[in-house]
């Protein structure tokens, strides 16, 4: 016994003290004996050994032992109280009573869609970049081959802040900004907020999100463009999702395409959601227009690419079956709680 130093003994007491704070009722009783037992109690032993120490050390050890005694008493008292509160009586425990919970929060369903989309494109080598929400005519329109004096500009009903300065109508300006600053190969996805002068109704909002994507490299073809978006759709929806490409028009792509996926509601057999077509339009896309490459200082003879854009709100509405886009902006706790994972 004499070989055990007081420090080691204290350490043992402190270890037990830690266990004490969490102990259940039976163990608590055992630990009480282990610590304070009249014969073998750890603390009892320390106090008993005081007489064998040098006076100076005796005082220090004694002080520490007394402090510990006070703490042990307090902890035991608290623990006993906790245990009494947890179980009204030892023999009458109803194990079906609910456990103690914490609040859980959730990311917004639109964020969840954005993250999932960006993650799939990350697998295809796309980095995730952003840009300002306030833009100029040049970046929002003209560099993207949308002349303001052409009816194509009417596809974007724009909020202006002052002449030439506007709230971006798509995240495509980041395409131009990126191509001006980086040399190909470029692969980016650009999530962010965009603005259109559409009043709120069940399917329109003046503010919403968009994810724009751009790939520019040597030798990118229509085949690769289709493959990338097909890969995305099959990974985002399901592996057996049918994907359809239809010709369309966007000033910044040529050829342009609408990308449809098999309706997720009816699996292609036709329902109200897909207007009986069996398909849902999920994005606009196409091969980057050579004029856009030229406007950003990239040689279209050497490089080619593709671009695409989609609306996370719309996709979230499809994915979760949300009937009204306004719900996504009301921050109703009853709505947001449903997205806890």
């Amino acid at each position: 016994m004499a070989t055990v130093s007081p420090d080691d003994q204290f350490e043992a007491v402190e270890r037990t003290l830690v266990e004490l704070r969490e102990a259940g009722a039976p163990r608590l009783a055992e630990l009480k004996v282990e610590l304070l037992g009249r014969k073998q109690g750890l603390l009892t032993q320390i106090l008993r050994s005081l007489s064998t120490l040098e006076p100076e050390e005796r005082r220090a050890v004694g002080q520490r032992a007394n402090q510990l005694k006070v703490e042990i008493d307090a902890v035991i008292g608290q623990r006993e109280q906790e245990l009494r509160a947890g179980e009204s009586s030892g023999e009458d425990v109803d194990p079906t009573m609910p456990g103690r919970r914490s609040w859980r929060g959730a990311i917004h369903p639109v964020t969840a869609v954005i993250d999932d989309v960006c993650e799939i494109f990350r697998e295809l080598g796309f980095s995730r970049v952003t840009g300002p929400e306030v833009e100029t005519d040049a970046y929002n329109f003209t560099k993207l081959n949308i002349p303001l004096d052409h009816p194509a500009a009417d596809m974007h009903d724009t909020f202006y802040l002052s002449p030439g300065i506007l709230l971006r109508t798509h995240t495509s300006p980041v395409q131009a900004r990126t191509m001006e600053q980086h040399k190909p190969p470029i692969r980016i996805v650009v999530p962010g907020r965009v603005y259109r002068r559409d009043p709120f109704d069940a399917s329109h909002a003046p503010v919403f999100s968009q994810i724009e994507g751009l790939a520019v490299d040597e030798g990118i073809t229509f085949v690769e463009f289709k493959a990338a978006l097909d890969y995305f759709a099959k990974h985002f929806f399901s592996a057996d999702t049918e994907v359809r490409f239809r010709p369309s028009f966007f000033p910044f792509t040529e050829p342009s395409a609408e990308v449809d996926v098999q309706c997720q509601m009816c699996r292609g057999s036709g329902c109200a959601t897909c207007h009986r077509t069996g398909f849902l339009e999920i994005m606009g896309a196409g091969m980057v227009h050579p004029a856009v490459l030229e406007n950003c200082g990239i040689d279209p003879e050497r490089y080619s690419g593709y671009a695409f854009g989609m609306g996370p709100e719309r996709i979230a509405m499809l994915r979760y079956g949300i009937p009204d886009i306004r719900m996504l902006f009301q921050n109703d706790m009853r709505f947001l709680r449903q997205f806890v994972e």
């Binding site: 420090d7 009573m97 919970r101 914490s102 609040w103 929060g105 917004h108 639109v110 964020t111 993250d115 295809l124 080598g125 796309f126 980095s127 970049v129 952003t130 929400e133 306030v134 100029t136 052409h150 009816p151 194509a152 909020f159 202006y160 802040l161 002052s162 709230l167 980086h182 040399k183 190969p185 470029i186 999530p191 907020r193 002068r197 009043p199 003046p206 503010v207 490299d217 030798g219 229509f222 085949v223 690769e224 493959a227 990338a228 359809r244 490409f245 010709p247 369309s248 028009f249 040529e254 050829p255 342009s256 091969m287 080619s304 996504l328 902006f329 921050n331 706790m333 009853r334 947001l336």
Partner: protein, 791 residues
Amino acid sequence: MNASLNWLSALLGTELEPTDVAHKLAMLGAPVESIEPLHQDLGDIIVAEVERVERHPNADRLTLCYVNNGVEVVEVVCGAPNVEAGKRYPYAAVGTVLPGGLKLKSRKIRGVQSNGMLCSASELALGADQDGIMELDTDAPAGTRLLDVLPVSDFRLDVEVTPNRPDLLGHKGIARDLGALMRRPVKLPPIPGAAGDTNAPVTTTGNGVVGGVEVSIDDVEGCPRYMAAVIEGVTVGPSPDWLVARLHSVGQRSINNVVDATNYALLELNQPMHAFDRARLGGSKIIVRRGGEGEKIKMLDGEERTLDSSMTAICDAHTATAVGGIMGGRESEVSEQTTDVVLECAYFDPKRIRSTRAALKMSTDASYRFERGTDLQGMADALRRTVQLIITIAGGSEPGPPVDVYPNPVKTPAIFLRPERVAHLLGVEIPQKEIEGYLTSLGFSVGPKNGRLAVHVPGWRPDVVREEDLIEEIARLRGYDSFPTELRPLRPSTVPSDPSQAAEALARRVFTGLGLHEAQSVSFGPQREHAFSIGESVESQDVLNPLSAEEAYLRTDLIEGLRQSVNRNWAVRERDIRLFEIGSVFGKRGDAEVPREQRRLSGVISGARRPAHWSESGPSVDFDRWDVKSLLDEAMRVAGIAGEVTEQDGRWVLRDSEGTWLGWAGEITMSGPPWAAPVFGFEVVMRQGVSRAVRFEAIPSTPPVERDIALWLPAGVQVDQVNEIIGKRGGKLLESAQVFDEFRSAGKRSVAWRLVFRSPDRTLRDKDVDVVLNKVLKELKEQLGVERREA
């Protein structure tokens, strides 16, 4: 664009099926939004001849008709006053379902069996009744299907036309695309009753004269080409049934034969045309010139509008009689009295039309088409067809050939297409013959030249201007679905991911973990001049063209949107509200300047701190300011910001060393329902480009020594000041110092700390700790007058 399936069928010379056409158009890039059946429910109605009419034996007002239905003669009781023997009427046999769903039964009317029914126009949903049943002007034998003599049944397709394809705004253009896919030629259907050909226009670069009217172009930029025909001796009146049916089928009203003829040309050939009454053109002149500043014109819609020099006016010798490409004037309108018509067929500059219709705030069928670009080369054909149509249905004749004033004839250069470029962009080798086939089927003329193809673009495709446009046409006709999907090895992107995205993702993880829900509010907000949360006096950025007064400014902070969300939640009796939002806020810099834009993280909490649990009876413990203070700490950490937190008006305000505002936290005063809990909020600036490198530190192998000390803090001394001294004097051995208790007695305040000491390389002895602790206590006493409270 409303398209009639019958019209398309006529152009392609084959019976088309509506859903098949819709699918084909979708795959050509012009999806069909809706298919509306028109009078398809008249299929069972037949033409019947009334052979004999007798008085009904039991009713004065009724007749008993002997009706030949092509198979037999049946007795039909009829109540119409206009029924006459020897005439033909629509007849519905017993068992026929009439429009509206009524199924005809055989029944006795006043004691006489009636076998079916002679129908009025309204009973067939063909318009208002004139004077009873619908008399048919036809020689078709009894038993013929009504729809075979009355071409009203059709399908109306609502075709979505993208702004690059003006040609699809006419039936011929749609038929051309369909024909290219179906390998069928497009031929204009003959005009019923047309006889003879019309005169080809005579082209001149100077002024031209036709039928005594002198035509000149002054504003060549606004109107590069102007054709006019004159038809003398027309009789303005109703249009024939087939033309009325055509117009109805696309949802247009018949006006009179001359106006209907111009509308027909617009809908068929996408060439807007205008008819003037020659008698009302002063001085027998048409002058195409720029509008005079402030010049007034009363237009066809009855409104007076003011012109300026950016617009093109069509004028007679004295005054403007039409706004070129937009709408005609009231003065020269064709009316019942008109006998001589001047027919205008012009090309107006798309950009000028766009600015004119924007300035006049009016869009017409004509302006819509001119703005997108009409067919500069197809004008003569359109004019001649319209002249032929007018002469056929309104009579009259041409005094001479039309005039074609074309001062600067345009020659469109060829586009060169490299077959290897097609493969380079599309990723599939397409044989040259196949490429030529696609392009010629769309009306492009193709000739090989030095290994390339020289392609001439027809006038109706102003959108095709470079090689890639042709490549799109090839891909479109070949079918996008015919291309394989094959991923090739990827070269990594040179563009790094934006660090803000990782920072925002971390913020979301942290705050959802703390039980808050991510919110999303609109980016508009109230006007502010000294927004508390942006710190400096930052002015709200206004929107030039807001949707409403509530959305006239951009938000200067996120907390306002969250505050409104709290109100909305209270309105639906939600008491426990925990929201955070990450988004951009804006501050005005100056007029015509790009506003300041800043990413922010903000949150609100109100209500129970934890979900209620049965073991803790009694009222729930609600969030208080100390909860939001710790949220501010978390926010600062994830936002990558640091600075000095001071108290200001009961809130914590965070500023950097230069005094720039970085965030705040505290209680938000709101008037909620009586059961609502207090609301606390915070908002911080998200620093961009933070790298949050965590470094491992060796896990201590030595035991800690804990000391609890309780201190009396004199009035005015704050915990932070004590912490500073503890930290400084605690030296290397002090591992942590946590406040764990506050106690007040007789106006004195005591705060207790738990200090943990540890040495990395040895087990500390009490005396080591005492030395440090004494230094701390000594300094606290000297500097702050802080004394140790003895137990």
